[in-house]
Symmetry: D2
Subunit: 338 residues, 4 copies
């Protein structure tokens, strides 16, 4: 952190600021310019947040953060890429991972049809929502525990591990009994009670970026899980909210190389939510991999026009298979395999 | 909803769309233009969300929502302003309400000093956080239940009712034992599990707008609480996330007249989070009331430079008292009282 | 500026960076932390932009701006508020200014009717567009020079000075012949060729904020005019573009106290464009003044339902007069007069 | 357009609205729902903008646009992709185009070195700015006409056609004498005076998206050029402004498939401005092509650390050549050639 003092700050002001900084356990480094004095702060970055309070002193113009505030999630602390396996499926290495399935688990026939479809298309992990965060209380809220059981059944039938969303701390245990990867949805990326609980459950966590979460805040959310003792975090870019309305969200693919520079964690792209229209899913799947993502998570439905949620952005199984066929040579050119 | 068909759609296409719409329980109304056919949908607005899935049909260009999707929160369904009292403090009428106190409850001496200060300045409700949603896992996480007890104590000492944040469903009960109003923070506005639980607890709910929540989504979040049987929802505009970085958030005061038009619920303004700098709190408090808000929620701290959270945006008690003195004649000119 | 070096930078790296900084005419101030070395740069702030190029060196992590890059527009360089008069109408003092009139000059009868209406309501300056920046080439493009003549005529008839938009450098001269204040529209706030030309014309300039212009960039746009020799710049907040769609733009009233802190220039609020709906104009006019603005610019039309542009956000003359009557006591409470 | 009437609108209201719509030259189509009556409007889409004014009638709730407001730029009116050649360089077909060069023309040696570098790397068009839109009046403003001459010289020396920015209508002629493609920069995308003038000049136009321009507004800006008689418009996505600050802008690659669906115009990606950091240029170049772009425009400088503008986002010639080598097999997999 850098504390910039106002022009005309007295020696007593500088002394007061320095005393306060030292009182918080840091060392200071003074730099006097023609107009302004700057107090550099040296010490443990994780504790520096409290320095922001000094902005309320009359002599302080601003407090500027110089370094990233996360530690365990940073590439500086952990230079090598994080890699691990989920039931034999590698995450984070040269092998790309594709997770696919319906937005919501709606019924046994629907889930089985889609699960078989994505398995045939080449997906590695089955996705499907049992607990559904719906904008409207009148929308379909999910099959809940019944949905979890159907996911387990589909997993056994296809051999695909399952990723599904958990929405509240109390449900972590039951979701973890049926799922191989726990998804934290965009609206819960800063649900810190939930992050602390999934950190303890031992299963890998797929952490979606919130629709207005900065990359720094997102990595701090990951830091909650890592600091809680769970090293297996998978990030997922799914679009941010901007002024553009021709797509549901704006898929921020810049985030891929930025995260790759700042962090060692694997990162996926969700082109279904990131665009909101199935017609754009293919283009943005390719773009996501070309940007350097470690995989994709794609919504697939056997009958999108009657889907209980996210129909407009769901691929049919045959389109999904066609997309996978197009992605394989692309992966190869990018030095990855699929 | 209006379903716009692509140019060149056949009679069979139109028939297929109409059949599907009717199958979902709606009536249709056809309108054939020179280039496009439009299918209007008539029926219960709350159920129309599922119509969006029709966008995945090849013949459908787009599905456009015409009406607001909330019902209980709408002024159309409930023309009169919602008004109620919390321990004798009126919310939502001509009398404005000011809630004030520290961001975090840090200690008994700190809370008592601030509570006495805001009481002396003329606040009607004491605010203070016991459970704190912090961006970094290394930030101060709140005194939790110990903090709730201190709030109860401060409430008794000053006679001010208490508003405090609840972050997870499982804590609703204990927070409701100590608080008179339960606050849902910006990051939890679409934490639907939490919304359902506070709907059941019977106490008034202060529902902050999320940093990227549209007004429509916000009113749908309120609808969760209303539909759960709790009519006492207070909205609170606290700034949205935009590209502007000279303030912490962009306080969207347009939201005040928009909400007043669309809904009957009372609405407050939080100029502390909405600006992030104590120097701007006074101007934006006045602007908030002038825009038509029913009150304010303001962060006050006896020693902002050593606050454990939100120091830069906290007023000292004497500045708060000065602001209140300026707000009183303003309220009168606006036809309100304070 | 502060140049942050990467961990592990060698003495040779530090030497190289220092040498380059000195080569650009600045002094350096070194600060070695536990992990990173920071090079502070001392010298003329206006020239520091070029330092950003050093980010392309391998050893540089980032270059952080500490001070504001504008000078003539800053309150630091010019502590007193800028105040001046336009044909006797004071701008920037305790007296508030209200500019009102139609979006577009459409015809003599329309303009005369509106001009008389706003004069009767108490406006101080007549607004009206002769050259119109329209999103669609098929929209009404303005009466151009014919419109300017009508504005002159309306000005003579009512005694109100005129503000009107100029869209290209070549038209500055002719617009200045008919207008008392030249408006730079939101889409041209960074049309630097135009800014340079209006700087030379001698007439006051009303500089609207662009829909995605940061406050810093906006003050740098003002700096173009000031540096070109024209001290009479009036800023105007008219809403920024965000994700919220229930209003046309998001009126950023935070900008009022921020600009008042950073700059000495007068600032107005445009609640018509800032909301896009006439029903919200009254609330946001009050909010703008309460936030500390020096005045308002409001669209008024005698027949909004047939206006050739911006009908939905235009007040009728009688509503405008009613609003003015409500603003007068508000101004008084705020220590201003109207 | 669809005009939604308020609940309780009388037959007289409906009649009045219908009469007004017909008076503007359209036909109407009435649809009465349980709660609301909707008036559909049939006729020339280009003229429908004026219908928005009807929102100011008391009985009208909202006016909703159903169709895209552009015509010449639409794929509906022009199903085949636009393709043309600039000095033998194909634009818009299966052959991808890469434009590269410095942000600013700084000197003859600099420009020649970079021009030779990008030619050797495989670029097809030389870019370079002679007139520079700079945020600060104290930044380097370009060599202006001297810069144009150097571009001509570099073009002759390398055989590469030249693209360069024009900032004001009066300079179109002189820029067109030296340039093969005229660039409209992001800040001028809605500088309609300039758009009208470049429409007349006969040379192809590279139209960058503004930092807060919606895709619809962008295609309407293109419509200005097309309607002015110039069919050779190349679109260029260069990043939009969002809340994310770890990159300079947010490159909106969703825009590629959206534009490909809505329009027939070729579209490029600018990964240099879109990220603001040379380290991310390679990843986002690949992502841009994978999303379906017809080419790239990339900033290259022989000495980025001393560049007078945009140093941090410029590649060195050898890195550019390396990137081109990586793009060639990628292009092939995507069914394109480079």
């Amino acid at each position: 952190m850098i504390i910039v003092l106002k022009p005309g700050s007295s020696d007593a002001d500088i002394e007061d600021v320095s005393r306060r900084v030292k009182g918080m356990g840091f060392k200071t480094h003074l730099s006097r310019g023609d107009v302004r004095t700057i107090v550099g702060v040296v010490g443990d970055d994780r504790a520096k947040e409290q320095l922001l309070a000094l902005q309320s002193l009359d002599c302080v113009e601003t407090v500027v953060r110089i370094l990233q505030p996360f530690k365990l999630a940073s590439r500086e602390a952990h230079p090598d890429d994080t890699q691990f396996k989920v039931h034999g499926v590698p995450i984070g290495g040269t092998q790309l991972v594709v997770m696919a399935g319906p937005c919501s688990v709606e019924s046994r026939p629907q889930l089985m049809a889609v699960a078989e479809g994505v398995k045939a298309g080449g997906a590695h992990v089955l996705r499907g929502g049992a607990f559904k965060p719906r904008t409207s209380p009148y929308g379909f809220q999910g099959l809940e525990e019944e949905g979890l059981k159907l996911l387990s059944e589909a997993s056994k039938a296809t051999g695909l591990p399952v990723v599904t969303e958990v929405m509240e701390p109390d449900k972590v245990e039951v979701v973890a009994q049926h799922a191989d990867i726990l998804q934290i949805g965009a609206r819960n990326v800063q649900n810190f009670s939930l992050l602390k609980r999934v950190a303890e459950c031992g299963k890998p966590v797929l952490l979606k970026r919130g629709m207005s979460t900065s990359i720094q805040e997102w990595l701090l959310a990951a830091e909650y899980v890592l600091a809680g003792g769970n090293p297996n975090v998978i990030l997922c870019e799914r679009g941010i909210r901007t002024f553009e309305t021709s797509t549901r969200y704006t898929l921020d693919l810049n985030a891929i190389p930025v995260v790759k520079k700042l962090s060692h964690l694997p990162i996926l792209v969700d082109p279904s939510h990131g665009t909101g229209h199935w017609e754009y899913v293919s283009a943005m799947s390719k773009a996501g991999l070309a940007a350097g993502a470690d995989g994709l998570i794609i919504e697939v439905h056997n009958n999108p026009a009657e889907a209980l949620s996210d129909g407009p952005q769901s691929l049919k199984p045959d389109r999904f298979a066609k997309l996978m066929a197009e992605l394989r040579p692309l992966a190869q050119v990018l030095g990855r395999s699929l």
